[in-house]
């Protein structure tokens, strides 16, 4: 079952609704969302979301503003925990475990998910400490190991050569594109299995955007990546799978090629043609 396309979304959730036997999914490193409903102050923000995210690929969630993309993404690493107005029903199964289950430690859930936010937010410390922060709070103590981790991930995001002599300087002195790569390195340093990107390039200039996009393509060899994006072109460039949402519902989902070349729903065609955005 290594071909993730096989297990993709629409087939699976139609089966689910028909109450037929659920297709056995490649269980490792996938996220499957079942009957997810999210309410914020009695508004039904996400309605009956059923979705399986294939492993080691890039899945882009697209849709107009306010359609619930970001809410869905934040549901995946339980960032709604501190807002009691948000009520969540349904299951989000990550690596065979419902992350909203009773005995789940939220720290473990978040450790599995590296989140890249819209605007880079470096921690108020040096470049080095930014990357070292995650490993440190998760118990890495040896100096040598920390040094190694920091250098490794800074190299991975292509920042090492740029900041080599000044890793002890403040992270806020970096350019915004560099900051976003630093945030990526910081997220990767906690050794997640998934990478979530919430419009991770929308604050960046075209060159930095390109760098981050290239990074995602490289990262999908090892990670399962879920991106929320506002730009269709970006989704077209890097996504393997597309999920199109509108007003809290999944309208259509499928492989990028099929989605763009042969959309099935009228709403999707309208969105792709730019009648609304």
């Amino acid at each position: 079952m290594n071909n993730p396309g096989l297990a993709f979304v629409s087939d699976v959730f139609e089966d689910y609704h028909n109450k037929t036997i659920l297709m056995k999914l490649p269980s490792y490193h996938t996220i499957s969302i079942r009957n997810l409903n999210v309410y914020i102050e009695n508004q039904h923000i996400l309605q009956d979301i059923n979705l399986t995210i294939p492993e080691k690929s890039i899945t882009c969630i697209i849709g107009p503003s306010g359609c619930g993309k970001s809410t869905l993404l934040r549901t995946l690493n339980r960032m709604h925990d501190d807002t009691p107005e948000v009520k969540i029903n349904g299951q989000v199964i990550v690596d065979d475990e419902d992350i909203y289950g009773v005995n789940v430690n939220v720290i473990d859930v978040r450790k599995k998910m590296g989140l890249l936010a819209q605007r880079p937010c470096p921690l108020p410390m040096s470049i080095f400490d930014n990357v070292a922060y995650g490993p440190r709070i998760h118990g890495l103590k040896k100096r040598k190991a920390i040094n190694q981790t920091v250098i490794q991930y800074l190299q991975y995001v292509g920042l090492w050569d740029e900041v080599r002599g000044r890793v002890r300087n403040s992270a806020s002195k970096l350019s915004i594109g560099q900051q976003q790569r630093l945030c990526l390195a910081r997220g990767l340093a906690i050794e997640p299995e998934y990478i979530l990107g919430d419009e991770a390039t929308s604050a960046l200039d075209p060159i930095s955007t390109k760098k981050i996009e290239e990074m995602f393509v490289k990262l999908k060899e090892q990670y399962t990546i879920i991106l929320v994006t506002h730009t269709l072109r970006q989704a077209k460039r890097i996504a393997d799978y597309i999920v199109f949402m509108y007003l809290g519902k999944i309208i259509e989902s499928g492989s990028t090629e099929e989605f763009f070349n042969n959309p099935k729903k009228q709403l999707t065609r309208d969105y792709l043609s730019g009648s609304f955005s």
């Binding site: 720290i107 937010c121 470096p122 108020p124 410390m125 040096s126 709070i137």
Partner: protein, 282 residues
């Protein structure tokens, strides 16, 4: 149309300049009076000697006891109110949900406490001391002043904390930090705001006479124990100003100069250390 816009602009600009001038001249007038009357009376004896004539009323000696007493008192109360305020502010901002009613109640009650006159804190401290069987002492003064400055510290620190962009706590939580680990990093970011809160609190606490009148008491000696009375600068000003002798009155202004200089030194050094400490601030 264009003309009215320009007139509007000019009018408000003049209004702003006038208000700056009024405020600055009042401030300069106060400082000027204090310096004019205080500087001639200020000599090295003032800051290095104990009072000569009993309860500051003599013309000899100095106010060393009050300087030391005020410094002890304010450091003690800052320590107490800091250890209580910082956890409280972090709790209502990051542990309680954003629209928490409980947090609003806490904020509201501190707003009320903020407006309570200092003599009431003094009276409350005094009542508390009688209940506990304590005499007027440094400890009593520290507790009363800590109560006085706590609302200032809480509300001003709370205001800067609320302005913190949600990105930072979110970034920390998404890295798998616990709330406690998150708070430690946030505190670094908020350090300049915390320093401002402390300075505001120190400014109010060190200059207040009514709180310490019954609680810390007054003495001609250096404060040497927590359960002994301690002299303070505001009270020394108060007593000296009440004297009919002009020379003693001028010594009150000299004491005021000393108090102002102490606040100035504290605030400059606090700013210096906070900017040094928060060089990584985002």
């Amino acid at each position: 149309m264009i003309n009215t816009k320009r007139q509007e602009e000019i009018f408000f600009k003049i209004l702003m300049i006038i208000s700056i001038c009024v405020i600055m001249s009042i401030l300069l007038f106060i400082i000027g009076t204090v310096l004019y009357k205080g500087l001639p009376a200020l000599d090295w004896d003032m800051v290095s000697k104990l009072p000569g004539g009993g309860f500051y009323l003599g013309k000899e000696g100095g106010v060393l006891n009050a300087i030391i007493g005020s410094l002890y008192l304010i450091s003690g109360s800052v320590v107490i109110s800091l250890t209580l305020s910082v956890p409280l502010v972090l709790f209502i901002n990051f542990y309680l949900p954003k629209k928490s009613v409980f947090a609003s109640i806490i904020r509201f009650s501190f707003d009320i406490l903020f407006g309570v006159p200092s003599i009431v804190y003094g009276a409350f401290g005094f009542a508390l001391m009688i209940f506990l069987g304590m005499r007027a002492s440094l400890l009593g003064g520290i507790i009363a002043v800590a109560l006085l400055i706590m609302p200032i510290m809480v509300r001003s620190f709370d205001e800067v904390t609320r302005l913190l962009p949600r990105d930072l706590p979110d970034a920390l939580l998404s890295l798998g930090a616990t709330k406690y680990e998150m708070s430690k990093v946030i505190l670094r970011q908020l350090m300049p705001g915390l320093v401002t809160a402390i300075l505001l609190a120190v400014g109010r606490g060190i200059g207040d006479a009514a709180t310490v009148l019954f609680t810390a008491g007054y003495t001609d000696n250096l404060p040497n124990a927590l359960n002994h009375p301690a002299a303070t600068l505001p009270l020394s000003i108060f007593f000296q100003l009440g004297s009919p002798v002009e020379e003693v009155q001028n010594r009150a202004y000299a004491s005021a100069v000393i108090l102002t200089v102490i606040i100035l030194i504290l605030s400059f050094s606090a700013r210096y250390f906070s900017s040094k400490y928060s060089k990584n601030k985002i």
